[in-house]
Point group: C3
Chain length 345, copies 3
């Protein structure tokens, strides 16, 4: 909306080497396909160079080595990092006015930092703490004694239950539920009796949690999400899990109770993990993988039940031959029977 920069200004802001007209003005960022003469676009991987040639963009953010492009170029060491800066230039975060909205309900004994904000219709119970510059969005619920550290963002309608501890710079998207009861029952021969879920949930610094995801509190002790981990939408993390640092949980992943997920592990979409499983550091589980037992550090696993991805790929390739294989074995049996019956024939 009215934001514009010259290519010279962009080069300076991004630490880029400019090849092109310093004075040319651009007014927005767009994808290679949608960019016009007022846009800057970006080539974050060499496989996109071909579409870049045909892009109508005025200028492109590219790596140091890219050649053959007709547009003005902003050369950088890391196109991903530059893209982040570029988007923030054109789309600065909206400033938030500190203070508690008149319609919010803040119970006596809750402590809201004077630089924090609490949105319309939000509810903050007694004993809860909202740290410096943190934002509790409209219609959020923050339960008794929950702690939001500094620079936390709860998007509208997030729920943080009683006693949950949320670290610095954590972002929680709309509809996420942090600290609901874990799923624990004991069948006593007559009925499933609920095991009280009296433990906690601790979210470390720099975590992001997607829309409508659910992370349960522990039975006793704490469920833990480690520093820097990023969780997509509609993900389920069961009670007493310990998710490590810089872990990636893609949409619709489900992790049963008491699992340990190692640092920097990546669980792709719809992966399911059985309870009490340990996934090692840096392990990668491809989409829809089902994990019944421990996965060692650094392994890349696929399939249900999961196996090393290279083996799974070979199994998948062989599967397409399986109907034919059944036929072949039948034919072989017949031929061998004939050979057996007519040995010297």
């Amino acid at each position: 909306m009215g934001v514009s920069f010259t290519l010279g200004q962009l080069a300076e802001a991004l630490g880029a080497t400019l090849e092109g007209d310093r004075h040319r003005v651009v007014r927005g960022v767009a994808s290679l396909e949608q960019a016009g003469p007022e846009h800057v676009s970006f080539v974050t991987a060499s496989r996109y160079v071909k579409s870049a040639v045909q892009s109508g963009a005025a200028a492109l953010v590219v790596g140091r080595e890219v050649t053959g492009l007709p547009q003005a170029l902003l050369r950088v060491d890391s196109t991903q990092t530059a893209l982040i800066a570029l988007l923030r230039l054109f789309h600065p975060e909206r400033p938030v006015t500190a203070g508690v909205h008149a319609t919010a309900v803040v119970e006596t004994g809750a402590r809201i930092d004077s630089s924090a904000s609490v949105g319309a219709g939000a509810v903050v119970e007694a004993g809860a703490v909202v740290g410096a510059r943190s934002r509790v969005g409209a219609l959020c619920f923050v339960g008794a004694g929950a702690v939001l550290a500094d620079d936390v963002v709860l998007h509208p309608r997030a729920v943080v239950h009683a006693g949950v501890v949320v670290g610095h710079r954590v972002t929680v998207h709309s509809g996420a539920v942090l600290g609901a009861d874990g799923f624990g029952y004991a069948f006593d021969g007559t009925a499933h009796r609920k095991i009280p879920q009296v433990g906690g949930l601790r979210i470390a610094d720099d975590v992001e949690i997607g829309a409508n995801s659910t992370i349960d509190r522990a039975t006793v002790g704490d469920t833990v999400i480690g520093r820097g981990s990023k969780i997509d939408n509609l993900v389920q993390v069961g009670h007493n899990c310990e998710v490590g640092e810089d872990v990636i949980l893609v949409a619709q992943v489900g992790i049963s109770g008491s699992c340990t997920i190692g640092n920097r592990a990546i669980l792709a979409g719809q992966v399911g993990i059985a309870d009490h499983v340990r996934v090692g550091e840096g392990a990668i589980l491809t989409a829809q993988t089902g994990v019944p037992s421990d996965v060692e550090a650094g392994q890349v696993m696929s399939g249900t039940p999961c196996r090393p991805a290279t083996l799974t790929r070979r199994i998948w390739a062989a599967e397409t031959m399986l109907p034919e294989l059944v036929r072949k074995v039948r034919a072989l049996e017949k031929r061998v029977r004939e050979l057996e019956e007519n040995p010297g024939d």
Copy 2:
């Protein structure tokens, strides 16, 4: 509740040919199994004729060709279309009073059409537009600059984030989150850095979105849901996806970022699609299918990884023989070895 019709009135309203007593009164619609002498029921497919014979219903809505039923019959060309009309007759939509509830928070600069309604506790931010006859349910959130066209229904506690554009006659069910950030990070060697998600989300006319589903805004440009598409509960649509027209996404489907789903495609429950995949027009993906790469128009695909459904069915049939096949091959190897060792024996 007190609504009743004679079969004659129903025949007229549905454009049906009545075989039975015009003056008989019915007071509700029920399934074949649950219908009593005060009910009208329906036979929407020939496989239900057998249970229809035993139904206690006073009358049945049936196709032109059905025979052998003892009840009064309302014959129509399309039983499905007639069923829709029949249900609306007995269950007219509740009228909604226009106006903004006293407890709703409508920020200055939001434009609410005088025929629209905003429910209790709802929050509508500055610059948002709510069109003619649209209904913002209780406890909904409509972000800054979001646009709801005419006759939109947001059920209680839906979230429409800033700038999202929602077409005419769109229905959004409770808990759905439209326009949360896409899941985009760049790992810089130290941490996952968030790529600002500054794009938009456009929902075309006549779309329906289920409870607790999540549709993310684009990184740049727009995520798009095409006209007439129907999305069930707990579905995830990633950033920058383009979902076509009249597409069906059944519950718990997950679509990764930057996918294109062709018009009239059907994705059954729990299907997962990898990122940047194109699913062609009219393709059908059966339940739980995992789609790693493009699917051509009109294809019916099953399994993970997905293959043409006919092949997958043959693989599944052969799989049940697989343990036996391993045994057979071992036996064959032994017999061939014996033949080789005793050639002329």
Copy 3:
């Protein structure tokens, strides 16, 4: 927080036989790994005895037969039942003050029992009933004519739609949506026309429903969840399903429309069930199982498509040999061809 008991008091409260110092004081319950000298811990299965030996707990709740543990012991008949009682001793449920919060919106004609509570920002529409001691959490929505029986707990931000009937002692977690429209359309050649979802939803006594789960109302008649069933987070139950008694639905299970799930069936995480399927009493479906057709009572099923778990395990074992099997069959074909070509050789 300040709650403490002597082991003698605990023995009495739990009906346990104490082996140890009656006067020793403990101040909390912790897991074997995290317990210190102020804690009591528990050994709920014999496989945990090994870690129990090394636990720093002052005392352990154990079964009658466990031996070789150095800590004070509280011997009980059922460790699970004792654990429930133990957790409730140290963590009594927070008392709830009866009454309607000043910011709640209760429409005229809703009946709230004088012992019930309605939280901040909650909305209860006309004709709804909230029974004795029931609690409607903050920001919940209870639609017109919905009925909550006695001792119901709606956690903050749950949604109970119009006309839904909720039994005694039902617990609904945050974000759950009870009674949204089922997913029903008829394609008329031009568009998917919505089939009005005018039926109901009945939740029987003692049911628990997890965070962000969705249970749809019926097209006509009722969707039913039977007494004592426990539903985890992010579960989808489609319209017109009949879920039996004491059923377990683990996180992210998806049940299509018109299914019948027998009493005491267990559906593990991410299981998917096709529409109109009957799952028999006591059947067990392991995680990620895909169920295209009926499952008999008592069966244990795995895989997609599901098969008896014993067969599926054998198939999974054989699959790892499949690439090798393809190679072996090729080799066999060559050898048999040679035998055929050189019969008496």
